[in-house]
């Protein structure tokens, strides 16, 4: 089968999954709450797949193997990061769910604007996080481009493929909303699991003769890849691991699209069950990292890290399996972009347009949000193609930037009633400026410490000091009250 035919079949099947998922999820999408957070009624199984789909993306499939291939054991940070985030989520997400249901939040900016009694702060957070999220879509577009480049062998232009794929995604989101995305996620996750298991089993057998021989080769031929710091990334040592995992673990739920999944759950207990079960997903990451290590020996060094998995698959698998792998990889790139686009659209319509023009009805906001999906998806594609350097710079600092929301949202939003809007804004700006300066000037890590965590420390100090020096924002409730409501909802 020619590369062109493999790609075309993969594209058709991918489009089929996107359209079918969008169509299946179309019921219950008659208003913004239904379209965006499924009327806060998503059960454990669908939520598990939705969260899994958003967190385990094209980066997991392609980028993570590239990370262990180029940077060795430092790649394990990504396994640790999510599990620390799930431990944090165990209490934080149910609290956000309780407050969201009580006060009618459907976006992160709703939460900020109400908690700090400041529509201006809500607009500021909405605009800035929407910008960061659009850049984040680039990760997925880059993943898609790698599929066209490596598996397609140049038979379809990556630009044409990306435009087609994201046009279909935009239509599927418009129709199916978050529920449709969750249904697409089931297909995407199952296919991705199958593809990872297949490559994880076939690689040791084909290149080494079995798992035992592969592990022996790891220890004898590339032992320095399994040490911190590894020989290929000398600045990523133990201190970097601790501070990076802490920073990214705290930052994970500050991404507006992941924060928003807290609102989709049926009960707070659903979210606590997710925190217990989600770590099982990490086994997939360990398998992908292992493939990256194996690629060092099987393919040699010097290849583009992001292409390693695709190259191995092209070399090892028959055509019919390659078609399914193409579908899995494409869905891993496309489906996670759905909630990002939806969240960006809702932030702009509900937290910017409706605030600036209060006469806008909820119905108009709902339709504006849906329609905005198309220009936002287009904007992400155009930005990626026209100014890739801008995207690269934003992505470089993106995780560190969203983590700076942690003090204002988690500390001030849930636990500390003394927090003020001035404190949140001052801390946020301090963190963002420090992040920009340190990361864009190439000073990360700083003496082995993740630069984002240094910015977060400065952010927290400023947040506390300025809050204590100003009047507390009134719209808050005691943590004990939140716990009582959580207990009542969990009964």
């Amino acid at each position: 089968m020619s590369p062109l035919l493999i790609l075309l079949l993969g594209l058709v099947l991918t489009f089929g999954v996107l359209v079918a998922g969008g169509y299946a999820g179309r019921r219950k999408t008659d208003n913004l709450e239904g379209w965006l957070v499924d009327h806060r009624g998503m059960g454990s199984v669908l939520l598990w797949f939705l969260l899994g789909s958003e967190i385990y993306t094209a980066f997991t499939f392609q980028g993570l193997a590239g990370y262990s291939y180029t940077k060795g054991a430092a790649g394990f940070y990504n396994v640790a990061q999510n599990d620390v985030a799930y431990a944090i989520a165990f209490l934080v997400l149910p609290c956000i769910w309780v407050l969201g249901k009580k006060y009618g939040y459907v976006t992160q900016a709703d939460f900020v604007a109400h908690r700090y009694n400041s529509k201006a702060l809500g607009v500021f957070v909405a605009l800035s996080t929407a910008l960061i999220m659009i850049a984040y879509i680039d990760l997925n577009i880059t993943g898609l481009a790698a599929i066209f480049r490596v598996l397609g062998d140049g038979s379809i232009s990556p630009i044409v493929g990306n435009v087609l794929a994201f046009a279909v995604l935009a239509c599927a989101i418009f129709i199916g909303g978050i529920r449709g995305n969750a249904i697409q996620s089931v297909a995407k996750d199952l296919l991705m699991f199958a593809a990872v298991v297949a490559v994880f089993v076939v690689v040791p057998v084909h290149f080494f003769g079995g798992f035992g021989d592969m592990f022996t080769a790891f220890s004898t031929k590339i032992p320095h890849y399994f040490e911190l710091p590894s020989a290929t990334a000398k600045d990523l040592g133990p201190l970097w691991l601790i501070t990076t995992v802490l920073m990214t673990g705290m930052g994970q739920w500050m991404w507006p699209q992941w924060f928003g999944t807290a609102f989709t759950a049926a009960t707070p207990r659903t979210l606590k069950r997710q925190a217990v079960l989600m770590p099982f997903y990490q086994i997939v990451k360990v398998a992908v990292l292992t493939v990256g290590f194996a690629a060092v020996l099987a393919l040699g060094t010097g290849l583009a890290g992001n292409d390693v998995v695709m190259r191995i698959m092209r070399e090892l698998f028959p055509d019919w399996a390659l078609v399914l792998i193409v579908v899995a990889a494409m869905l891993s790139a496309i489906v996670p972009a759905g909630p990002i686009v939806m969240t960006s659209a809702s932030l702009l319509s509900r937290n910017v347009v409706q605030v600036l023009r209060p006469a806008t009805t909820d119905r108009s906001v709902f339709w504006l949000t849906k329609v905005l999906v198309f220009p936002l998806t287009g904007a992400a594609l155009v930005l990626t193609m026209l100014v890739p350097s801008l995207i690269v710079n934003v992505l470089l600092v993106a995780y560190s930037l969203v983590t700076q929301l942690f003090p204002g949202i988690v500390i001030g939003g849930i636990f500390w009633r003394r927090a003020s809007k001035q404190g949140m804004l001052a801390g946020l700006l301090t963190g963002w400026v420090l992040c920009g300066v340190l990361l864009l000037s190439g000073n990360d890590p700083v003496f082995g410490i993740n630069a984002g965590l240094i910015a977060l420390a400065a952010n927290i100090v400023v947040f506390v000091v300025v809050s204590l020096a100003t009047s507390p924002s009134p719209n808050t409730q005691r943590f004990a009250e939140t716990v009582e409501e959580m207990a009542a909802e969990s009964a």
């Binding site: 022996t216 220890s219 399994f226 673990g249 217990v276 099982f280 086994i283 716990v483 009582e484 207990a487």
Partner: protein
């Protein structure tokens, strides 16, 4: 009661962070060393994703007991 809930949660957070970030460089940082045939660090990071859900499940049970106490007598 809410202090107990936060306390249990914080303990779990610290335990997960230490298991993932402090233990590997201290005890599993010899690339040539092997456990069950695997490089030490790979072994540890394979073990944790199947161990952590057990720890989280323990917190879940503790939390459920505390939540029932809150339902009966309030959070304070």
């Amino acid at each position: 009661m809410s202090l107990k809930i936060v306390g249990a949660w914080l303990v779990l957070n610290v335990v997960v962070l230490v298991l993932y970030t402090v233990i590997p460089p201290l005890l599993f940082n010899d690339g040539a060393g092997r456990i069950l045939g695997m490089p030490e660090m790979l072994f540890w990071f394979t073990l944790l994703p199947i161990t952590i859900p057990g720890l989280m499940a323990m917190l879940y049970l503790v939390d459920r007991r505390l939540m029932r106490a809150v339902q009966r007598g309030g959070a304070r």
